[in-house]
């Protein structure tokens, strides 16, 4: 029985895998939604789906919403914590915002509102 793990076969296999991985990444990159760069991409990257978030954000019931102020607030809120933890803390502290009746943690609602403003 021939040895399959020859130097040649390993190199061919590794090369093939790299090609497949590269192609997969490219397909994924092509399929992923593209957005023009914004000053808030560090924040918006926390969202699962910016389109869906923007839809929610359009329904968020906020008073005066200044994008820069909101972004600064969100960066402070999320500086040393995950979005998940920030949301849980919002709920624990009663910081809630409604979006067409949906009761949302403030951090998520502000992020969604940011996505809506940026999209607009």
């Amino acid at each position: 029985m021939k040895d399959l793990f020859t130097r040649r076969n390993i190199l061919i296999g590794a090369g093939g895998a790299a090609v497949v991985a590269g192609a997969g990444y490219e397909v994924s990159r092509l399929l992923r939604k593209h957005y023009a760069p914004t000053p808030y991409d560090d924040l918006l990257a926390r969202l699962d789906d910016r389109e869906a978030a923007a839809r929610i954000g359009s329904a968020v019931e906020l008073g005066e919403y200044d994008v820069k102020t909101a972004a600064a607030y969100l960066r402070a809120r999320l500086k040393d914590t995950s979005l998940s933890a920030a949301m849980a803390q919002d709920a624990a502290d009663g910081r809630l915002v409604e979006a067409h009746g949906w009761v949302l943690p403030e951090t998520l609602a502000l992020l969604c509102a940011l996505a809506a403003k940026v999209k607009a």
Partner: protein, 499 residues
Amino acid sequence: MSAFIDARTVAEGTVLEPDLAIVGGGPAGISMALRLAHTRVRMVLLESGGMSFDAKVQQLYDGAETGAPYLPLDSSRVRYLGGGTNLWGGWCRPMDAIEFEQRDWMPHSGWPIERHTLTPYYPAAQSLCEAGPWLYEEAERWSADQAPVIALGEGGVATRWFQFSKMRGSPLPTHFGERYADDLKHVPNLATYLHANVTKLGLAPGGGALERLDVATLSGRRFTVKPKCAVLALGAVETARLLLASNDVMKAGVGNGSDNVGRYFADHPIPRDIATLVLFAGQPAPFYPQNQLIQDAIMRAGLFPSERYRRAKHMLDCSITIEDEATLDDLGKAALAETAAALGVDAGSASVHSLGGGCEVTPDPERRLVLTHERDALGMPKLKLQMRIADADFAHFRDTLKELGRQLLASRVGMLRLNRKERGEWLDGLDWGNHHMGTTRMSADPKTGVVDADLKVHGLSNLYVAGSSVYPSYGAVNPTLSIVALALRLADHVKGKLG
């Protein structure tokens, strides 16, 4: 065993002289009669209807309504033996201690008795309602294995339990008339008169005591009952009507020296689809949306504001139930997906439900029953209900729902949409509990109530009221169980007085 007496066959001009006359054969009146069975108290029970629905008798309930949308006065009650239990849903739950307390944030609150006064009577009331073993408090301590309740964590809303009445040998709740007719017939010290309408409370000169009850039938027969003592157990609408209409000696009506009779009318608003509940992990336990047989009791879980939360946040009471499955619109789907992803929870099998429930209303003296100039077939003045409901009452309900939404997020088990906000949204399709309360409120001070802590009408020595008309404030749970408990307590009091 003695059969019931058809009042239409009683000789004209007859005078009955029992120790006690119970006016009204609903759950309160029947419970009192059964409690006093085989005692030395000679009783008559006077019921306007017969043993089944009769449109002509029901027509006696006809009245008018103005103000906020409400049910027609002749549609939310049933006028035959068993009264309101002929149409109830069987929901049972005792009142909490907070309902009896004077609360600064709730005008006109405060009962002259405390919860523990009723505690000894609840088990017997539970038995009469046939609601199974008393499990309300025990169920709140069940482990997750015994009862997998929604893990809401710390907060103002918690799972609590309803128990349900079920009539022996029937799938229906206990209809007190049908269920206890034979028992009443076996009570040797009781005579039950059907088709007997009390049309007037005749007071002694000076108005300090009840002297006689004028009784009439739709067939035109009239007779008199001269009891040592009488209990009005007609429901919150008819009790007020009879007191107001008996105005020959006391011009404002019996017990109405302080103009409280008929005021503070209340019911529980039952708005539908008040919120949309999403549970990330899937379906709730089956005892949330439907009744389940648990430990020999028919039970259903609801979501209630805790007493601690209500005191801290100055909230009215409410009950929240999980109803039918619902669907999400595009925004709802987006909110679910984004929230679950951001929380880091898997919502792939999330379930969506509509929420229902009922809420308490603030006692309001201007929400009242007044007599009109129209007369019914017996010559009694008809009533008009001036209905009101405050925006603040809906706001309390919404705030508690929002608290539930907060807890769902904090514990990462779900999320909530509040479906009603503006007054018009709350009133759209609003249903009511048919829980008439408050028109002869209980108060230690005659200036602020109609009956005292013993349920005796202020200023009269021998006239009492049973039923939820004596509630000064209302809570949000269905009243029948507490009506029966109060009636049993009153029976013991009357027995002591007549003893």
